[in-house]
Symmetry: C2
């Protein structure tokens, strides 16, 4: 049992930022988020935690092997071009499961509502959530609703957790990246971040960009069906492609080299990023994946993804290398190289 008076018993120096309080960047999916896990949650949990508290854990459950994942969604605004917090809450968690190679089966839904939230707004979010679950073929099986007093929430926060089944022989995780492996993406990068930003209060700008929010487990099944040995799958959400590639480099102790001109970025996204001073590599995606596959499997995985509606613009963007372990390097169009750092905090707060 916790003592109620002895808060000073916990001292947690966080190397990246000498602040005694939570800042927005701790929720950005970048270096500060990783630091919070490494220097606060893992020491606090000690041997009660398994592994690194990753996006999705693969676990034995009696005779089965399940994947288990959770995410809370705090996106602002609740509705944006191409989707809503309800779509994200389903597709985001489905995709975390899919990145383990799991077949998603069940979702829980837990709402934290602010007193005064309009019931019709909640109804619209719940309908979007139900529609997305139906589209993804997952069942909503258990739920919870809490209400907090006005001024202590922000309309609607949703958490979903998900359970999926992992087939025998499937072993997909960031630490399996090997030098020589090909790095693929399933399509256009940076779309979700720009779509949400385009309608945010004070920042409205005209754009035809709609969020790419979509479930990816069927695309993963298609890639698996080629018989390729998929080493790594990641969905580059918060922190964008840059965060996912850095995570892979760190987990496997390898370097990653990408060719900037081979990364598919739609012109509208490039234009918006250029106006706003953003980098598409750091902009969130909600319907794209990164795949790391052995070089001999690259072409058949690419072909299979391109033949799938969610992967028509799939591309090979780079290679895993033995050099500069833990680091991601981009070759620019001019032939120069630049380091693609793990973003410290977040380029765009509350993007998912």
């Amino acid at each position: 049992m916790a003592e109620t008076t002895d808060l000073a018993a916990w001292t947690c120096p966080l190397p990246l930022r000498d602040s005694p309080t939570i800042v927005m960047g701790h929720g950005g999916g970048g270096a500060m988020s990783a630091e919070l896990v490494e220097h606060l949650f893992l020491p606090a949990y000690s041997d009660a935690a398994t592994g690194e508290l990753t996006d999705s854990a693969v676990l034995p459950a009696g005779p089965a092997r399940i994947a288990f994942s959770t995410d809370s969604y705090v996106v602002k605004p609740l509705f944006f071009p191409g989707g809503s917090i309800g779509d994200l809450a389903v597709n985001g968690t489905v995709n975390d499961l899919a990145m383990s190679g799991a077949v998603p089966l069940y979702l829980s839904t837990a709402f934290i509502l602010e007193e005064g939230t309009a019931l019709d707004e909640l109804g619209m979010v719940a309908t979007a959530l139900g529609d997305a679950a139906r589209a993804a073929g997952v069942r909503l099986v258990t739920g919870d609703t809490k209400v907090v007093d006005a001024g202590h929430g922000d309309g609607i926060f949703v958490n979903t957790a998900g359970v999926g089944l992992v087939a025998d022989g499937v072993d997909i995780r960031p630490s399996r990246a090997r030098p020589g492996d090909a790095v693929l993406v399933s399509g256009d990068i940076g779309v979700h971040g720009v779509a949400v930003l385009s309608c945010r209060e004070g920042l409205e700008f005209g754009t035809a960009v709609e969020s790419d929010t979509a479930p990816l487990h069927d695309l993963v099944a298609t890639a698996l069906a080629t018989g390729a040995d998929l080493h790594v799958l990641r969905d580059p959400t918060r922190g964008g492609l840059a965060a996912s590639l850095n995570e892979i480099a760190a987990a496997a102790g390898v370097g990653v080299e990408i060719a900037e001109r081979d990364v598919p970025v739609p012109p509208e996204v490039a234009d918006a990023c250029s106006i706003l001073g953003l980098d598409p590599l750091y902009s969130a995606n909600e319907g794209k994946l990164v795949a790391v596959v052995p070089p001999d499997d690259a072409d058949r995985v690419l072909d299979a993804m391109r033949a799938h509606p969610r992967g028509t613009r799939a591309a090979r963007i780079g290679t895993v290398v033995a050099d500069h372990a833990g680091m991601v390097v981009a070759r620019t169009g001019l032939g120069a190289s630049r380091v693609v750092d793990l973003p410290p905090g977040e380029q765009l707060p509350r993007i998912c």
Copy 2:
């Protein structure tokens, strides 16, 4: 995909309260919470939802049968006599799994933090959470952290989801209550609600009452080991014993009769409730269960619970009856009867 402009497309008349917005009572675990599920979430989810979105769902996962549950915790204050939000986040979800007769295995943890929250406070909560997980024998396997801007959260909200394994032949659910069944509780009632209230800003009153937050799966295993056919188990949290008994009566289409003088209520809880104008039957518990068992099994389940450290004050408090289906009736000390309604909203907001 949701339309961003057509919120009016959703109309959700809620019978209990003609309000177009969320009120605190929608999160209280009483009639208004049930109404939100019945009239908003279930129609919105339509055939994407399985069953009634109950506290814990029992599901096939390949060759295994799993229980899956979720709860968000928004208790205020974060630390209270006998525990903290970290203890509740583990024990509450462990207990939801245990009420299906599952052996809890894994928890996810998802934090929604308010910008400006003290890191040492977060560290204390995470340490309490890790300690509680270790004490309950469950593993923390996956996690998420989001940060919302100052003024749009309230320090620390935590969601946990849990997965457990259900043994062959175990079938414990509210709809299995049968007329003639005995109604048991595992110990003193109303403790958690009074403990939290006793330290709430503006309400501080001296009391020795500490929260009963505790994991109950081992007590359930002890009851199952007697060979008794446990029909129903519930943990009477939000809404208290009254809400749990009403839920059972409604689910099984039966009546429940309890004898008020047989319900174990500690004198300090009775005193505090009397001063505050509260009813212990509606005060939350975080380490107690209600069991509904066939009459011939009642004594051995009671004996087994009393021999367990979490059940020393277990008691038989009533009987399931065929009369007044869906209704809970209490016989008072004076021999009169009163209806124990499902509370509409919540007696004590943000109690868990």
